[in-house]
């Protein structure tokens, strides 16, 4: 179900442990990671993560809040959005 898919976008200064920290939060909240990609853009570390929240017993808001707190802890900006917005905006 596409409505269970979320995209987590992480950006900021590269450092040790970003992937570990974010994936441990996702594991704790029952989010299945389906794909991860990362890149450096204009000196900025960026990571994109496709997750499935269908099997999670937590609400979207709880997952988003947990990720935002992790972002603050890491000093990174984390956006958590339902994937639908990208599908709708970029496909005819």
């Amino acid at each position: 179900m596409s409505e269970n898919k979320i995209i987590v976008t992480i950006s900021g200064k590269d450092r040790v442990g970003i992937v570990a920290e974010v994936s441990s939060v996702l594991a704790k909240y029952g989010v299945n990671i389906e794909d991860i990609r990362q890149t450096i853009m204009q000196g900025c570390f960026m990571m994109f993560l496709l997750g499935d929240i269908g099997g999670s017993k937590f609400s979207f808001k709880e997952i988003k809040d947990a990720l935002s707190q992790t972002g603050e802890k890491l000093g990174m900006e984390i956006w958590t959005q339902r994937k639908e917005i990208f599908d709708k905006m970029h496909t005819i």
């Binding site: 389906e34 994109f48 808001k61 339902r82 917005i85 990208f86 709708k88 970029h90 005819i92």
Partner: protein
């Protein structure tokens, strides 16, 4: 396993974060026709109960959707049946009381504006219409959230000049009764020609007679996104390329709005009405329609070529948007409010954008003379003359036009009117001092125009 594209993700986040893409309004459109009755207090109770019942979750659901897609939903609003119709059912009219009821209901459900303190009088007025119009200045001065609109003309009916005359005075009184706030009453009042019944934007939103019991209408915006896209094109890109780029961006903005609108309607368990894809500027830096003209290559809004730029922009926005949604409606196009657009404010302040140029631009924009501050001592008949001109443009060109001008009490050219928030601030513009008095005092109706011999 599903697919994602990093470039698309970055583009979307940039549109929201850097270029102010937002859902400008989710508007619950609600019929109040079943609230009629002989006793005005009972009618008020029915109105209050119906609005608070239907709109109970409007704010919280909109906040949830905002979280899910990380896209700001700036305003949550309500549009109701023109109140002239509902209030007319009472034995004794008390439209100011009904306005207060609307205000209370809007406050209870946490919406910032409620539209529909309205009358549709393009051909003539009923007793209720007249009573509502007379009550507008008091109603707007005694409420915070109520917006009023009057349809004075249409291509099929002509222009109701009796009421055009009256509205000059009503606008002035509305400003004077709110003199302590630079005449903000007049900023919540708009006169229309060919008004749409499904517009989600204020101050002109109301729930039209041919509409559903209720619907969720949505207004999307994004002048900043369009400006950035145009700026990124090479300076020698031709107009075909320019129009194409604007269409692509309008498609993306509208698709997002459609998604939010449908999700919102689903949550509220009401039908999705329309999406209004309007480039509605805000005073925020860069979120400006005037900024798009500059990105297109004009020195500033008001330069010769501005009307052509606006015509192309308005048309390309509609073409791109229409592909992205099954139901496009409302005022769709590009708005040119002065006080709400930092670039327009700057152009008006430096004198390069004049009232007359703005009037010419309204021939091709999606609405009309919008949020223009004029001297407080402008005669009523001059204001009526401005309304008549704008109604004529709409009537002949078969388009919606509108007038929302504010004669700012005790202020003149060179002064400023300051409203704050989305309403912004405006330099007071010079108006033509010639008299329109005898013309306006003729009264009657300008007949509907012929639909052939189009020259």
């Amino acid at each position: 396993m599903s697919f994602f594209n990093e470039k698309s993700i970055i583009e979307t986040i940039n549109m929201i974060k850097v270029h102010n893409l937002d859902i400008r309004t989710v508007t619950l459109a609600l019929s109040l026709r079943d609230c009629c009755g002989e006793n005005v207090k009972e009618v008020g109770d029915k109105i209050y109960n119906k609005i608070t019942k239907y709109a109970k979750n409007l704010y919280s659901y909109a906040s949830e959707i905002e979280e899910e897609y990380s896209i700001p939903i700036i305003n949550k609003r309500i549009a109701v049946t023109p109140i002239s119709l509902v209030g007319e059912s009472c034995k004794e009219y008390d439209y100011v009381y009904l306005a207060k009821v609307l205000d209370e209901a809007a406050k209870e459900v946490n919406v910032n504006f409620i539209g529909g303190f309205s009358a549709l009088v393009e051909k003539g007025c009923t007793r209720g219409d007249n009573a509502l119009i007379e009550s507008i200045p008091e109603a707007l001065s005694q409420t915070q959230r109520v917006c009023s609109s009057i349809n004075l003309a249409s291509t099929k009916a002509g222009i109701n000049m009796d009421t055009v005359k009256k509205m000059g005075s009503i606008i002035k009184q509305s400003a004077n009764l709110t003199a302590d706030k630079d005449g903000i009453g007049a900023a919540k009042l708009v006169c229309f020609c060919n008004v749409p019944g499904d517009n989600p934007f204020m101050a002109g939103a109301f729930h039209g007679y041919g509409e559903n019991e209720c619907a969720l209408n949505i207004g999307v915006s994004g002048p900043g996104v369009v400006r950035a896209a145009v700026e990124n094109l090479p300076k020698n890109a031709d107009f075909g390329e320019l129009a194409n780029k604007i269409k692509q961006i309008a498609f993306k903005i509208t698709s997002t709005g459609e998604l939010v609108g449908r999700r919102m309607a689903e949550k509220m368990n009401i039908p999705f009405g329309i999406i209004d894809l309007s480039l509605a500027p805000t005073p925020a830096k860069g979120d400006s329609v005037a900024g798009i003209f500059q990105a297109m290559g004009l020195e500033h809004a008001g330069a010769h070529g501005t009307t052509a730029a606006l015509a192309m922009l308005n048309d390309a926005v509609k073409k791109g948007g229409i592909m992205a949604s099954s139901y496009v409606g409302g005022l769709s196009g590009a708005f040119i409010p002065v006080s709400e657009d930092a670039g327009m404010i700057e152009a008006a302040k430096s004198g390069v954008l004049t009232f007359d140029k703005l009037e010419a631009m309204t021939c091709v924009c999606s609405v009309g003379l919008d949020m223009i501050a004029i001297p407080g001592d402008t005669p009523d008949s001059t204001i009526s003359g401005m309304i008549a001109d704008e109604m004529a443009i709409g009537m002949i060109n078969k388009k919606t036009t509108a007038v929302r001008i504010i004669p700012v009490p005790n202020k003149g050219v060179g002064d400023y009117a300051v409203y704050g928030g989305l309403l912004g601030e405006a330099p007071i513009m010079k108006v033509n001092n010639l008299s329109s008095d005898i013309f306006i005092n003729r009264g009657g109706r300008i007949p509907a125009p012929i639909h052939s011999l189009n020259n």
